[in-house]
Symmetry: C2
Subunit: 489 residues, 2 copies
């Protein structure tokens, strides 16, 4: 197992957060089943979410819950709501962030008796989604009153962690193929970093077939021929979309469990929200939460109880006597508790056709924690991109900046607007916004520029044109580390 | 119609770029059908793509082609390849960028005899994808040797153009609903800008039902219940994924036409690539290119010929005598030319069941070209975010920066790392990368800071810690225009 479980009263300690809305019914059902299956779990029930926000905790996660997690390092939770007007960030996200659970694992498989357009194709695949970085960090700045910017940050360390996790997860589940889905053809540095990391690390896993796929084609293929996939590893935002796509292939969010894995803490939860309008009605499908519990048990090394429950869930759906409202509609639907009771009654039974896999303990990758995970042997600063808020015409702005640069060691190389070169003019028809990127490099080709020269340039430019954003143009180990605009040579 | 066609020899002028690989076969088939349908088109055949790159044109688009487009303002093209080692950007993208075709329109509909998991659900929906801005501008910088950044830029002007286009397109096609798919819940400024623009502009189109949907749920719903959608408007990257998803719902890229619309030029092309391995084999499905030609004809106001061709294509697929290899496999497949001949033979015939819509001319939105599309009445600079490359511990970095700030008008508010607050410490477990964001604001709460103060701070910080990236923290019209990190209060 990944993290040695904490033993309390001879049992494995788990922090149980029932959550909001339907979370309470679902986690109650899952806990009852887990206990009935003979797993020795010591549940430490803690609060987070709506009620906690309303008590005035801005994060939605109180200290007692954090103390419990520090001890258990293992959380089983229902969905948490963020009440309107309380807190800026969802407590679900806060928990994932607080404990650096860098991998979001989202398996989907076909369930017997749950008819979808893909029934009979025996889908069984897993999205391994990076869970910490990318656009999801939500780092945003307005560049002008009408132009917004969000930073997409992707690190080599983050890529290495998620790629290794994908391969280790594949091994633990006896899976044979890992696809890496990126948009590296457009974003060569960020998405390209994941692609290059994948291609490098995959060599350490010769037992697993590794392929790269462009993310839009991945979405296409997931609809056209999803049975070709086994494990897909991808960045946070793309993984958000792809994993929601895949859960629809097998019948919806009622069947979509997840694990958030890190080196310190693991969090198991269904993908669905707290669905307040169904809360307390005892009619929600608890399968996703139960299957999250199965993932929890495997994480704790309780393979026997996990497989017993998974087999019972498959048997119960195949048997078809207790099927929930999301699958059969209102008439004849089993309640949440009736479904859970059926699963308990079926513990020990196995479908002939629908089988649980053979699982081994996952080896969670341990990567160096050094912030400077990649080091450059040589480096120089080649210039600076100054982002101006300006509604001046490109030609006038270009002339003005050239006049300013004339008195400095810099030359104005190019002005671009939303990624397209607009000065010197190219003949392209470009609709301008008032956020221009003005690239200054040394008058001497490929020469380094100094910090002092940059600040002096900034002062001169800033005196005439308000800047909002600066990027240094760097060369690491003889390679330029910035892209050219469309039309720039 | 949108742009008055250019008349040459009494016919409407179109620049025809046959393209690379299978493009030649497909555009030849489509041109033959268009001429046979009686549309009066003057084709000006021009080159772009592989052969042009190999002649040494870095953009893949020669002057003669640009001259032709300047005259016709209307392009019908096959896919263009980018040979390895020539040029950095695809000529397909260059053409879209050169002419500011800001809207990528991608309709899909069910075809008779083309069996998919969704057959019989009568899918008929359109993705309207922003085509100029967003992550697709490919503006990237390494923030350290191991941390890459891509800028996602979204403008109010860009949002307004694409949203109006979506509603105008819906009206032209007699469609009733427009969904706007965003990730505004995570990216409040960028994706939120599209959501807010949509909610505002939708009021001008009371005849059309308008709803917002979170993009990951949109992907889920497109798989689960695609028939609920009519038109979906979205940002460039999300639209890339969603439109490739939707083309798979109806049988793949052989059935996915597209239009790139702008205020000056329109470009019609299939979504598929040049597929070099099928080139010259006369076995590719030309339906997507033919349907792109149908969109071209409607753009030129040739509604009668357009509907005649669309009806014939539907009739031909329903009849099932000429079906291509992508649908029926190798045995008994019709060649590209045989399929085209069947469509020509069927011109004038109509399916009883499968109908073309009633179309009207689209009114392409004309938006102010002012770069300062949104103006702020008041503004002040509240501070600065300095992005440092540093492998120092957060605590040591924090102490060092506080000491520096002590001698300035600034205070260090927070240090964050990949969007999570790491100084002052929060107790979170955060795996650091060597790219930290250090937020400095005035020592006097909410007071403005000057340009000179910022440059002086930069000089002091830069003397001890190398910075790579700066963002001014601005207030426009009394609203802060930057996000807080996870854990920042």
């Amino acid at each position: 197992m990944a993290l040695a479980p904490t033993i309390v009263n001879g049992k494995k300690l788990v922090t149980l957060i029932p959550g909001d809305g339907v979370g309470i019914e679902c986690t109650t059902a899952a806990r009852k089943i887990i206990d009935a299956a003979g797993a020795k779990i010591e549940w430490d029930v803690q609060q987070a979410g709506e009620s906690v926000f309303k008590q005035g905790f801005a994060t939605g996660v109180p200290q007692a819950t954090m103390d419990s997690i520090a001890k258990s390092r293992c959380v089983f939770k229902g969905p948490l709501g963020t009440p309107v007007g309380y807190g800026e960030k969802s407590a679900n996200v806060t928990l994932r962030k607080l404990y650096e659970t860098f991998a979001n694992i989202r398996p989907v498989r076909e369930f017997p008796g749950v008819t979808t357009p893909y029934s009979g194709r025996n889908l069984d695949l897993v999205i391994v989604r990076e869970n910490v970085e990318d656009l999801y960090a939500g780092i945003e700045y307005m560049q002008s009153p009408g132009v917004a910017e969000c930073l997409k940050l992707i690190s080599r360390k983050g890529c290495e962690k998620i790629v290794r996790m994908a391969f280790e997860f594949a091994r633990a589940e006896g899976r044979k193929k890992v696809h890496c889905a990126t948009k590296a053809n457009i974003m060569k540095f960020t998405e390209g970093l994941l692609k290059r990391t994948f291609e490098e690390i995959s060599k350490e896993y010769p037992d697993i077939e590794a392929s790269h796929i462009i993310v839009d084609n991945c979405a296409h293929q997931l609809v056209k021929k999803p049975e070709q996939f086994d494990v897909i590893v991808t960045t946070n935002m793309n993984g958000d979309i792809l994993s929601d796509l895949t859960s629809a292939l097998v019948g919806g969010l009622g069947f979509a469990p997840s694990a958030n894995l890190g080196n310190d803490v693991a969090i198991f939860e269904a993908v669905h929200g707290s669905a307040p309008k169904y809360a307390g009605k005892n009619n929600i499908n608890p399968t996703a939460v139960i299957l999250s519990g199965v993932m929890l048990l495997r994480h704790l090394g309780e393979f026997e109880a996990a497989t017993k429950i998974e087999n019972s869930v498959l048997y119960t759906w195949e048997e078809g006597k207790a099927r929930t409202r999301d699958v059969v509609g209102d008439t004849g639907a089993a309640s949440t508790t009736a479904f859970a009771d059926a699963v308990i009654a079926n513990l020990g039974k196995k479908s002939e056709k629908w089988k649980a896999r053979d699982y081994k303990a996952i080896k969670i990758p341990e990567i160096s924690k050094a912030p400077d995970f990649v080091k450059a042997k040589t480096r120089k600063t080649l210039g600076v991109d100054i982002f101006l808020e300006s509604s001046t015409s490109s030609n006038d702005l270009g002339k003005s900046l050239e006049a300013i640069a004339a008195e400095t060691p810099f030359t104005l190389k190019v002005i671009s607007n939303r990624g397209t070169k607009v000065y010197p003019a190219t003949g392209a028809i470009t609709d301008l916004v008032d956020a221009s990127v003005c690239r200054f490099t040394s008058k001497i080709k490929d020469a380094a520029v100094s910090e002092k020269e940059i600040l002096s340039l900034l002062e001169r430019v800033g005196a005439k044109h308000p800047w909002v954003h600066i990027e240094k143009l760097q060369d690491f180990d003889g390679k330029i580390t910035f892209t050219k605009s469309q039309g720039e040579d």
